[in-house]
């Protein structure tokens, strides 16, 4: 059996580990446009911050490919897939055949077209190790940095370089920071905390026009800058399949074993859509834990096993300048709220089920809430009042604890 994996991040690694659970000898080829050992993409801001290094940010040990018997083709791009002949063609002219193909191409930064953007010399995105290296080289103690986008990527970038530049200004069209994962009050807390570390925000505005070292804003005024980082969002990288299936532009659609509608072609990770169990809707969940689990399920399925991918929810754990935030699920329904000095918690529940939560500061035992959402545990089965106050196993039934902690088989 010949397995071909396009991509080399969490979903691809999950697939390699999934395949090897079932098939110890099939030939695995991993193709990546990046010339690097698999690394943790979210760590690029920690690299600039000096909290990790290139070796430590490797997502798997040095011998990962040899231990798993993978052939690596790194630094090459796949130009197209021929699903009829079951081959892919590379930019070096080679053609590689497969029996089972996995698309794990992740996402690509979205760059809105803005007048004058070609005039900006120091313009970067912040998605890859090469992006981080390039940005690291471009900044110095005198740099005025303009970041477009107050989301996860933009703000992690700001934290990563905060100590190394003169000033950072973050502009976002939304009127609040981290609007994709926080409610208004949470945004306020995070925004104030990040501002207290010297980052300036200009919210509710976009860039109308760029000059070489200046951004003209939509509501008037301008921001001078030396270095520009565009981090307004990402899009699923579906280009290889959207040539065949145009409907895939908003994320590749698969069944629960990560199989696409094309025979022997699978997809996993940020380039796909998943069923968010907290909302019941299909959406792109560009999250590393999701990507790994999808990749593993795809690998198992490609190798002839069966492990459906399920229980996906949006979930984010992230910290900015020492303040931790964890969130999961959807923010709909009734609200339970607790605020204390340095911590903020909001739980969202609807029709007897926990749907989502936000915790800032104290994130202890947050996974107990996540499991309530992921596993669809009826709140009538637990002491909901207690679990609201404090995520704990005490709130669950004795039977649940006997099974989970006591090893009693039900």
């Amino acid at each position: 059996m010949k397995y071909l994996i396009i991509g080399n991040s969490a979903a691809a690694v999950g697939a390699v580990e999934g395949i090897r659970q079932i098939d110890k000898s099939g030939q695995i080829t991993v193709i990546s446009s990046e010339p690097h050992h698999t690394y943790s993409r979210p760590l690029i801001s920690y690299l600039l911050l000096g909290k990790t290094d290139r070796q430590k940010m490797r997502y798997r040990p040095d011998d990962f490919y040899s231990v798993n018997g993978c052939e690596c083709i790194f630094g090459k791009n796949v130009l197209s897939i021929n699903v009829k002949n079951k081959t892919v063609s590379l930019d070096d002219g080679r053609s590689i055949c497969y029996d089972k193909l996995l698309i794990a191409t992740g996402s690509v930064p979205f760059i809105p077209e803005t007048e004058g953007q070609e005039k900006v010399k120091n313009s970067f995105t912040f998605m890859s190790l090469d992006d981080a290296d390039a940005l690291g080289k471009a900044i110095n103690a005198g740099s005025r940095v303009l970041i477009i986008g107050a989301g996860l990527i933009g703000l992690k970038c700001a934290e990563g370089i905060a100590g190394r530049v003169k000033s950072i200004t973050v502009v976002d069209l939304s009127d609040r920071v981290l609007s994709s994962i926080l409610d208004a009050e949470g945004s306020e807390i995070l925004g104030r905390h990040i501002e207290s570390k010297g980052i300036s925000f200009i919210l509710g505005q976009s860039v109308l026009r760029y000059g070489e070292n200046e951004a003209l804003l939509s509501k008037g005024g301008s921001v001078p800058f030396d270095v520009l980082v565009t981090a307004v969002g990402v899009r699923p990288n579906t280009s290889l399949l959207s040539a065949i299936e145009p409907s895939y532009e908003r994320g590749i659609v698969t069944d629960d074993e990560m199989h696409t509608v094309i025979p022997d072609v699978y997809a996993a990770g940020d380039c796909t859509q998943s069923l968010d169990v907290s909302s019941g809707k299909n959406r792109v969940l560009a999250l590393l834990p999701n990507a790994y689990r999808q990749g593993e399920c795809a690998g198992i399925s490609m190798a002839g096993g069966k492990k459906p991918f399920d229980r996906a929810v949006p979930m984010n754990a992230i910290g900015f300048f020492g303040l931790h935030v964890v969130t999961a699920g959807s923010y709909t329904g009734e609200v339970f709220e607790r605020k204390a000095e340095g911590s903020y918690k909001k739980l969202f529940y609807d029709k007897g089920f926990l749907k989502g939560f936000i915790m800032i500061g104290d994130v202890n035992k947050a996974g107990i809430y996540t499991s309530l959402i992921q596993n669809g545990i009826p709140l009538s089965d637990i002491d909901f009042e207690l679990v609201c106050e404090k995520p704990s196993l005490m709130a669950f039934s004795r039977k649940y604890r006997d099974e989970k902690l006591g090893g009693v088989r039900q």
Binding site: S40, T52, M57, M315, G319, H324, V326, V363, A366, G406
Partner: protein
């Protein structure tokens, strides 16, 4: 593999397991000296309310959501035991968000900590079990 199991009805809520755990991870010989004036950060924690108490520590799950969620690759499985490479961990707490039991916590270094069944410190003999005076925590292979 052998795992730590909890007999809830035998737990006295004495918290000794927490002290033995904290001590086991200091690498020191004398418990009193090791824990003197120390705010302990055990990897096993007692939950208690009214007359119910029980210890919670890593279940070393067959489907370890923490390992699969770890963004750095710092969590992995070695001979069945879920272990943490503290050097690789950046303290993002995705594992805390993923663990259904609340069994992962923050260490004093900012990295996460969790029960590793004393594999690194006491030849794989969990000290919480050895120190429990009432048989409320056991270390057994139940398949």
């Amino acid at each position: 593999m052998k795992r730590v199991y909890v007999n809830e009805k035998w737990c006295l809520g004495c918290h000794l397991c927490e002290y033995y755990c904290a001590f086991a991870n200091t690498g020191m010989k004398d418990m009193a000296k090791a824990l003197c004036n120390l705010e302990i950060r055990p990897r096993i924690r007692i939950e208690e309310q009214d007359d119910i108490s029980f210890a919670v520590s890593c279940r070393h799950c067959d489907e370890p959501l923490c390992v699969k969620s770890c963004i750095t690759g710092a969590l992995s499985r070695e001979n069945g035991v879920i272990v943490i490479d503290s050097d690789k961990c950046v303290g993002c707490f995705t594992c805390i968000l993923a663990c259904p039991y609340g069994a992962i916590s923050q260490s004093e270094t900012g990295a996460i900590q969790k029960c590793e069944l004393c594999a690194k410190t006491n030849d794989g003999i969990p000290q919480c079990v050895a120190g429990c005076p009432n048989g409320a925590i056991v270390f057994e292979d139940r398949g």
